[in-house]
């Protein structure tokens, strides 16, 4: 196991890119501090650091849309990780499977899987 102390945190955070293990769709990105990474490895369920709320955040705590982490990869610079997950429901708070549900033309190309009003 890579020593989490050797990772290159920036303001105590590393970037986490999250990919659906099966469809290979990139579904979101977020930040982790060391505690979030440790919790993720320990529990097998994705935890992040919410920069807006300044607290540890278990993804899906409110919505039930948790992410079961199947594999974690680390990049050459040791400053970001790639999570391969089984996403329950949708990753995006807007109701889409992926946060990247629009192209640069502004056209919606992602799949809507829930109604935010019914979940939050």
């Amino acid at each position: 196991m890579i020593d989490f102390g050797t990772l290159k945190y920036e303001n105590d955070l590393i970037l986490a890119i999250v990919q659906d293990r099966v469809s290979k769709e990139v579904i979101m990105c977020a930040y982790m501090n060391r505690e979030a990474l440790e919790k993720t490895v320990e529990t097998g369920v994705a935890h992040y650091w919410s920069r807006s709320r300044q607290k540890l955040w278990k993804k899906g705590e409110t919505s039930g849309h948790v992410q079961k982490v199947e594999e974690i990869r680390i990049d050459c610079d040791m400053d970001s990780v790639l999570l391969l997950v089984d996403q329950i429901g949708g990753a995006c708070h807007m109701g889409y499977r992926s946060c990247f549900y629009r192209n640069l033309e502004g056209k919606i190309i992602g799949e809507k899987v829930f109604e935010p009003d019914e979940v939050y």
Copy 2:
């Protein structure tokens, strides 16, 4: 086209996650300023902002390992983009197809596609 002025830059930068269009492998992440994004759209070839060198950076300028950008998606928060690219050679300066060539156990699981010494 989404107005690039409406994107949520942090210190003038947005995050770019780069995915191989065909294999769906996440191959790297980097930062873009507005100019890099505009250059990317204009030329169809990925440009980033190098935070270490503090300059615009055409990916593959030295190595020839350019990225032809087929599609750009934007996330719900408007603070990161996903690039779907055709990667010539490898994305990683260590010679791998993807920068995420190791798992959290430190085991190399990525494909080596060139010898850095012969390229840089």
